[in-house]
């Protein structure tokens, strides 16, 4: 739901905020390098651009960026000099850092940790059952310990 500027020089995808850029004309600096791009958007559609404007002063920074061909390295909102300041920061737990929960409130395994295997089948398809014992043996082991300690309950 947002438009992007994919900088081919540094292979960075710059994400634009659809609300802010819905009707917008100006220059945006790439979060990955010093490139500056001119865009003109009308009703959410890219009307002109992105055109490279080397050396010009940017009006604004992108809201978020990542490098999909480089292990999805992320440049989060509010990174100084890279992305736009994020003025509505709520509590620290809401800063986009994933919560690596491995066990639910009743102590059973959930799928809430990373990294996960990147691919499991053809065309993004995947098996129906996450076999935790086979695919995450260390979590399975931790689960067995929890059962022994009586930390797993029915409710």
């Amino acid at each position: 739901m947002c438009d992007i500027i994919w900088c081919k020089d540094c292979d960075t995808v710059n994400y634009l905020d659809p609300y802010y850029f819905w009707n917008w004309e100006g220059k945006i600096k790439c979060a990955g390098c010093e490139n500056v791009y001119y865009i003109y958007m009308i009703q959410g559609h890219m009307y002109k651009g992105p055109e490279k404007k080397a050396g010009e002063k940017p009006d604004i920074l992108p809201v978020y960026a990542d490098k999909p061909n480089d292990g999805y390295e992320q440049i989060l909102p509010g990174t100084p000099g890279k992305t736009r300041p994020y003025n509505c920061l709520p509590r620290h737990i809401y800063l986009g850092k994933a919560d690596m929960v491995k066990f639910s409130a009743r102590g059973r395994p959930v799928r809430g940790w990373r990294p996960q295997p990147p691919s499991t089948g053809v065309a993004g398809s995947c098996g129906f059952t996450w076999d935790i014992q086979k695919l995450s043996p260390e979590v399975w082991q931790e689960y067995q310990e929890k059962i022994k300690k009586g930390e797993v309950s029915e409710w």
Partner: protein, 470 residues
């Protein structure tokens, strides 16, 4: 042909077998436990089995209309954008609580819990259906399906030659749903969110406290109009299916979310039409009944909990004592018989100044009490009172647990998850709703649908995938 002069046991009302006889003797409570038996849903048939539905939807409102069908047994296929998936996956809550799916698109981002319950039991494929190469696959899916729900901007599917006008040519029995913000008309280009629906329909203007009490209009924190609209679409779909059974013809359903929100206004619209009165906000009180509202108690039920939601906020209680004897009793309990002398009739009590005085007295009485003490004191006296429960208390509540409203699901992909889902939508004895899985990774069923159902060779599927078409 039955002989009308002969009485047959099977035509008579009442039990037909020993088992049914025993069932008739059961107390009602026990009978309900037996016929609904939460947890045994999967041993029973599914009412919508045999219906196949396509879902080209995003966020909550339109997906939920299809999830309702899927929980009732329809085979639903959700079509998402290649690699990215439904944006709702990456939206809420605050990118905080990720569940990492098993797929190779955006591997370091997960599916947020906000996606929960809106797409359960569905098959997940990806398709960039507006490109010409994918038209054939899309049309073939349409020919094999009973209907589709979409949520693109009005006319987008028409431009892509896949609106009702085109699809009914392919499949005259096809039921087509457009769901979105404003629909055709002056605001045709307006997109919508739940909050827009609540605002545009006048709903937000009647929620929250009156400005005299420093209040503002308030939107409901959760996307209640999204969930509500989704359910309303499902009602329309079921009616359309019945219509199709009678006529053999499909239909188009055009559902504006902001329009749906007007239905929640109750008497507000006719009130204006008849009397010219613009209904005002009245907060946690009631304009027609007093006492019938929520009061703040002084002490927390959980003074030692580190969680602020428990430590500070578990302090509200509903009190209802609006008929005269109940109000008299309430006044006696709080030691304010003068209020009873002053406001002996409901007419006296519902007036604004009276409500201000009465609720103020109630909160003064509750200032040194916890919510539990207030509720216990009032219910012991035979009055209606209920704590305003939070998530933790709902989770622990025996009422919801026994009825299976909230329960743990061992999701095949995502593991242990606590859900309410379709189990909060009413019980059905013969064909109950069920949740098999909450959601699947982006494109998880591409091979199942494209190869096994539509018969495309694997080489074609791989080619599409390489070109980012699926």
């Amino acid at each position: 042909m039955k002989d009308q002069r002969v009485t047959r046991i099977e035509d008579l009302p009442g039990p037909k077998s020993q088992g049914e006889l025993e069932e008739m003797k059961m107390p009602y409570e026990e009978y309900c436990r037996k016929v609904f038996s939460p947890g045994q849903e999967k041993t029973k048939p599914e009412s919508l089995k045999g219906i196949r539905w396509l879902s080209t939807t995003m966020y909550i409102f339109t997906p939920h209309s299809v999830a309702n069908l899927a929980e009732l047994g329809a085979e639903c296929i959700k079509v998402e954008m290649p690699r990215m998936g439904d944006p709702m996956r990456h939206t809420s809550p605050f990118n905080e609580c990720y569940l990492y799916p098993l797929h190779d698109s955006r591997p370091m981002t997960g599916t947020g819990l906000g996606f929960t319950n809106a797409n359960s039991n569905e098959y997940y494929i990806t398709m960039d259906y507006h490109v010409p190469e994918m038209k054939e696959a899309f049309y073939r899916l349409v020919k094999l399906s009973d209907g589709l729900t979409e949520c693109y901007r009005p006319g987008t599917f028409d431009r892509w030659k896949q609106s009702y006008r085109y699809l009914q040519e392919l499949n005259p029995r096809f039921i087509y749903v457009w769901g979105g913000g404003f629909g055709y008309g002056p605001k045709v280009f307006g997109g919508s969110y739940d909050i827009l629906g609540q605002a545009h329909a006048g709903l937000a203007s009647v929620t929250g406290f009156h400005e005299d009490f420093g209040g503002h209009c308030t939107k409901h924190s959760n996307w209640c109009i999204d969930w509500y609209s989704g359910t309303q679409i499902t009602v329309a779909i079921l009616a359309a299916l019945y219509w199709r059974r009678k006529t053999g013809l499909g239909t188009m359903i055009e559902f504006s979310q902001v329009q749906a929100a007007t239905r929640c206004l109750g008497y507000t619209v006719p009130l204006y039409g008849r009397f010219g009165i613009v209904r005002q906000r009245w907060g946690n009180w009631d304009t027609q009944l007093c006492v019938h509202g929520i009061i703040l108690c002084g002490k927390s039920d959980y003074p030692d909990e580190p969680n602020p939601q428990l430590k500070y906020e578990a302090r509200y209680a509903v009190v209802s004592a609006f008929n005269d004897p109940d109000f008299k009793e309430l006044c006696a309990i709080i030691g304010r018989n003068d209020l009873w002398d002053q406001y002996k009739t409901l007419q006296d009590r519902v007036r604004p100044q009276a409500q201000i005085a009465i609720y103020k007295a109630l909160e003064e009485w509750a200032a040194d009490k916890t919510r539990s003490q207030v509720v216990k004191t009032l219910t012991d006296a035979g009055l209606l009172a209920m704590p305003v429960m939070n998530d933790k208390e709902v989770y622990e509540c025996e009422h919801f647990r026994q009825r299976g409203t909230i329960r743990w699901l061992d999701d095949p992909v995502f593991g242990d998850l606590l859900i309410q889902s379709g189990y909060s939508c009413g019980l059905m004895s013969k064909t109950p709703r069920r949740v098999n899985w909450l959601w699947r990774p982006v494109g998880a069923d591409n091979v199942k649908i494209y190869h096994e159902m539509l018969g495309y060779p694997m080489s074609k599927i791989e080619e599409w995938y390489e070109k980012n078409l699926i």
